[in-house]
Point group: C2
Chain length 406, copies 2
């Protein structure tokens, strides 16, 4: 019988009733003949409470103690879920990271998984016992609890699915799948039935908050088929799979946007070899992530204008770093603008369809939207526009690529 | 340098400020030259919350899952306490039961400690690192978390003190020691400076709720010197020690009372051999604890009256058991009364002072209080009286044994 991993996020196990509801979703899969491992997050809000307590104890808390405190949330849910399953007449037991064991490195609070011993769990699954595993946690070589950082429970679920050779890893959440764009902006947005790992990665990093990029990367690497689905409605969700499972590619699978952008332009920068290093070296040292970069061809052979984007929270820091290094960089002037948004279209179909970018530029032009910066990857075209045009741009692109529901 | 164990109960670590205050009490002992192991309970109320969650998951929850859920409370406090100590510039780390390891049997939810490996903790204590140990929890041979039942964190503290050869085990709580009686009833009650294990056992089982009997028994067995003291005032508390540390014994060390009593009388029971077994066997089978028992000499050689006490919560159950077995026991009538209280005087001095009991009976008689049942042990005399006389009796006895403060 096929093995299946079901992962329930914080909103899916928010209280006793939610946990009991989630247990019914597990029972349905058991009744359908699956051998099931369940990964649970902390009850919604608990992790934040724990982080808050830790932060009140002093500056720069010891990450090992942070991990021990914060991981308690998943420990509680795992026990409660096992009890809920037992109450439905199923065999179930909880597993903490150190009990499995789920081995990680010792980078506490942002540990990376190394190895999962699934022999005993596998044997018990084969006997029909459900394994309820606390997500987000592992154990380091120091014999102390580690946590896996943001999106950690998804990582636990994917890794467990890989280790168990599961047929599928279902990520239960409070939305019923991945949409072609944000339905709050485009009511005609549609749930995507199947999407490739690569597309999901672009969607995730561009602001579709359903799955964290790390878990999608891991699923791609381990060949784990994912399904993003709702805990509260029984329908199929969105399958995230390898490209060869998707027969006919659309030009564009989704339109995403991000308002977390700020634009910095350096005017009349000396156009010498090494100028980019002079600019981006100090920013990297200051932990500022730079996203889109555009450098125009030098008009007079001496100076050029250079534009790039950072996240809004980094803007102030970035500007002060650049001003402190004005001497080495040699620029006339700096302008900063946090009133911008990044709009992207994503689709593996771009590889085989020409003119995708052109269609985008034309659609935006027809709406009178000025494009400030463009950047492209193999399966993505992104543009930076005035923030005011965000919704207009997203709607126009959703329509022009034929994504609107009938 | 001497090792010391400090145990902080739920009210002593109720919130962030309490934990920081408790950390200062630890720092004071470190500054005084001690090597300190700290045992912590869950923050006040947390264990009850967890128990409540578990009980909502279904009938008769699996005790192994109960333990995993409920033990999370101490896990959180241990991490927070370690952080608070680090914030004071001290070296500290948290230890969970399975990390020490603190080995117990596998009677989940009421496990008994078997063995504590203190080698690594001892080495670290000698280096000046504070060990913060989650109380109430251990690990069973099944590699699962166990909890130690009521008073479990005190047990953890005493066992750790014994294993570490600590000079003393300080139990921090919200009262400043053990009193000669309940100060709410007798404002002239005094804090006891030193009390023997045996007296403390009688005081604890008779209703002084400061220390659980199991931990006092263990301290006596392991020769661990205890101090019950307040987290919130710096004064010495009450030392619980062996008899040879107490030079001059008073007749009576304390007066206790319990309103948790109910009296059952069986009238005209057939006075045959085996009648007691016929009565108390079925009660034991029904998990009813019987406390005081009085059987009068048979008047006519055929029947006798038999009176005994049970806890009030057991009364209904006890009565129905006795009615169901009326045929075997052969009694005329059964009367039950839950309007009674047990008043006791306790003191190892009784062994060497004659007339202690007589002084008690006389004092009660002078106040017009009728004694319903009497029971005695080597260091205790208990009487059952009408509940209405509880305060009057306690005050009279406190005065007559010279326990009133000046």
């Amino acid at each position: 019988m096929a093995r299946l991993v079901q992962k329930f996020g914080g909103t899916s196990v928010a209280d006793v009733d939610c946990i009991k509801n989630a247990a019914l979703r597990v029972k349905a899969e058991v009744d359908a003949g699956h051998h099931v491992a369940v990964i649970v997050s902390a009850m919604a809000g608990v992790t934040n409470q724990m982080v808050d307590l830790v932060n009140q104890m002093g500056e720069l808390p010891d990450a090992r103690e942070y991990d021990s405190v914060v991981s308690s949330g998943e420990q509680v849910t795992a026990g409660l879920m096992a009890l809920a399953l037992q109450d439905l007449g199923l065999m179930a037991r909880s597993w903490l990271g150190w009990q499995v064991p789920i081995r990680s490195d010792t980078q506490h609070a942002k540990a990376r998984l190394m190895d999962i011993e699934v022999e005993e769990i596998g044997t018990r699954l084969d006997r029909g016992e459900i394994a309820v595993i606390a997500g987000f946690q592992g154990i380091g070589a120091d014999n102390r609890i580690t946590t896996l950082g943001r999106g950690g429970s998804d990582i636990s679920a994917v890794a467990m699915a890989g280790a168990l050779g599961a047929e599928r890893c279902d990520i239960y959440t409070d939305v019923d799948g991945v949409y072609t764009t944000d339905p709050r902006i485009v009511p005609k947005a549609q749930k995507i039935d199947k999407i490739t790992y690569e597309e999901m990665l672009e969607m995730a990093s561009l602001g579709a908050k359903v799955l964290h990029t790390r878990s999608v990367e891991l699923a791609m690497k381990m060949g784990v088929r994912l399904q993003v689905r709702s805990t509260f409605v029984p329908d199929d969700g969105t399958f995230v799979v390898s490209e060869d499972e998707i027969v006919e590619q659309q030009e564009v699978s989704g339109v995403t946007y991000s308002r977390d952008e700020a634009k910095i332009t350096l005017l009349r920068v000396s156009d010498n070899p090494g100028v980019a290093a002079n600019i981006f070296g100090p920013l990297a040292d200051a932990n500022v992530n730079v996203d889109m970069i555009v450098q125009n061809v030098s008009e007079n052979g001496k100076t050029t204008d250079l534009t790039f984007t950072v996240t809004r929270t980094d803007l102030k820091n970035a500007v002060s770093v650049l001003e402190a290094h004005k001497g080495e960089i040699e620029y006339d002037n700096l302008t900063a603008d946090d009133g911008v948004a990044k709009i992207s279209v994503v689709g593996v179909g771009m590889r085989s369809h020409a003119g995708i970018a052109q269609k985008m530029f034309q659609a935006l032009a027809e709406k009178g939207i000025n494009i400030q910066v463009i950047s492209t990857s193999e399966i993505k075209v992104s543009v930076l526009v005035d923030e005011e045009y965000t919704e207009l741009a997203v709607r126009a692109l959703h329509t022009v690529y034929g994504l609107d529901a009938d």
